[in-house]
């Protein structure tokens, strides 16, 4: 499996997290697990790459962390998408769409066959 360059991964992380939290609130480990599952392991965020990103998004007001009881009965810090974060989804999706379109035009980038 071809790994994704760290910088590309970092840039796409915000969109991935916002898209997931738009479906339901999740805690950090669930976010990293869900991203890996949905992308078939292509995008992986570990403890070191995930939490600075989450904290930065929280400072911007895109997500809000709250301690809540998890399904396991233990307290976990769940992240909720804020209205401000929700408003970021469409422009971020458009931005990445344009980016891939441009790459396709110049370098013939097409979705990899799964």
């Amino acid at each position: 499996m071809i790994g994704i360059n760290a910088k590309i991964k970092r840039g796409s992380g915000e969109l991935a997290i916002l898209a997931l939290l738009n479906q339901e609130p999740l805690h950090g480990y669930e976010i990293s697990k869900r991203i890996a599952q949905v992308t078939g392991g292509v995008l992986q965020f570990n403890l070191a790459s995930l939490y600075p990103l989450l904290y930065r998004m929280e400072k911007r007001g895109w997500v809000k962390g709250k301690w809540e009881e998890a399904r396991s009965g233990r307290q976990r810090r769940y992240y909720h998408l804020t209205p401000k974060g929700k408003r970021q989804l469409a422009p971020l999706r458009a931005e990445w769409g344009m980016f891939f379109q441009a790459l396709h035009r110049i370098a013939g980038v097409t979705p990899a066959e799964s």
Binding site: G28, Y29, S32, N46, L47, A48, Y51, R76, R77
Partner: protein, 238 residues
């Protein structure tokens, strides 16, 4: 169950953040580590190996620590500047303007000194009661910034906020006047001659300088006199 918090704390070290925030970060990262280890054990990995693999997922703990501190500092920097500069500066501006308004309400008017420059009379105002009160305002602003942990430059700028803002007015005012003079046709008569001449000649330039001295330079000196003791002292701790 793995004590993730203790392991995270040992690897990140003290972050130097507010206690509550630091505890929250360590707890959250510890929970992630514990969940990751438990997931590996559920796949049949031995407990020791699972913990080792979860810890090894972070290749550079000092870098993670720096990234977390960097994110936390972004907000802290904004709040610091507000506390040590903008609020004390706003306080100085409010006190200075408020005093001017009170003096005028009390009937204390500026004293005008008349000068003759190339035959043109110029009135130079000096608002002595206000000028005398300025050292106290400078002292208040510098002390406020110092108590908030401001450096000498913050204390100085906070104290000098009133003349700095007045200087801005003096710099912008002539340009607005020139714009009005050039653009608004009301200021011209039928023959195309402007009824009001834009005062770009020596006596008015000297007048502007004297106004600057009266409303910017002298007040700056007064404020600086009050702020001076607080510029020399070391900044307040904590």
């Amino acid at each position: 169950m793995v004590d993730g918090q203790e392991l995270i704390s040992a690897r990140l070290g003290e972050l130097g953040l507010a206690t509550r925030r630091e505890e929250e970060i360590v707890r959250e990262l510890g929970d992630h580590l514990a969940d990751h280890t438990a997931a590996l054990e559920a796949r049949g990995v031995a407990p020791d190996a699972a913990l080792r693999e979860a810890l090894d997922s972070v290749s550079n703990w000092p870098e993670l620590r720096q990234e977390i501190l960097s994110v936390e500092a972004e907000e802290a920097n904004m709040n610091y500047r507000t506390k040590v500069l903008w609020l004390p500066a706003l306080g100085a501006l409010t006190l200075s303007s408020g005093l001017l308004a009170i003096f005028q309400f009390l009937g204390l008017v500026p004293r005008f000194y008349w000068l003759s420059v190339t035959g043109v009379p110029l009135a130079v105002p000096f608002y002595f009661p206000w000028l005398i009160a300025l050292p106290a305002i400078g002292a208040v602003a510098a002390f406020w910034s110092q108590r908030a942990g401001g450096k000498a430059v913050h204390r100085l700028l906070a104290a000098l906020a009133p003349p700095i803002s007045m200087l801005g007015t003096f710099l912008i005012g002539p340009f607005i006047g020139l714009l009005i003079y050039l653009l608004i046709p009301l200021f011209s008569d039928g023959a195309g001659h402007r009824r009001i001449r834009f005062p770009l000649y020596a006596p008015s330039m000297i007048g502007v300088f004297l106004m600057l001295a009266s409303w910017v330079l002298l007040p700056a000196v007064g404020l600086l006199l009050g702020a001076a003791p607080f510029l020399r002292k070391p900044q307040a701790q904590g």
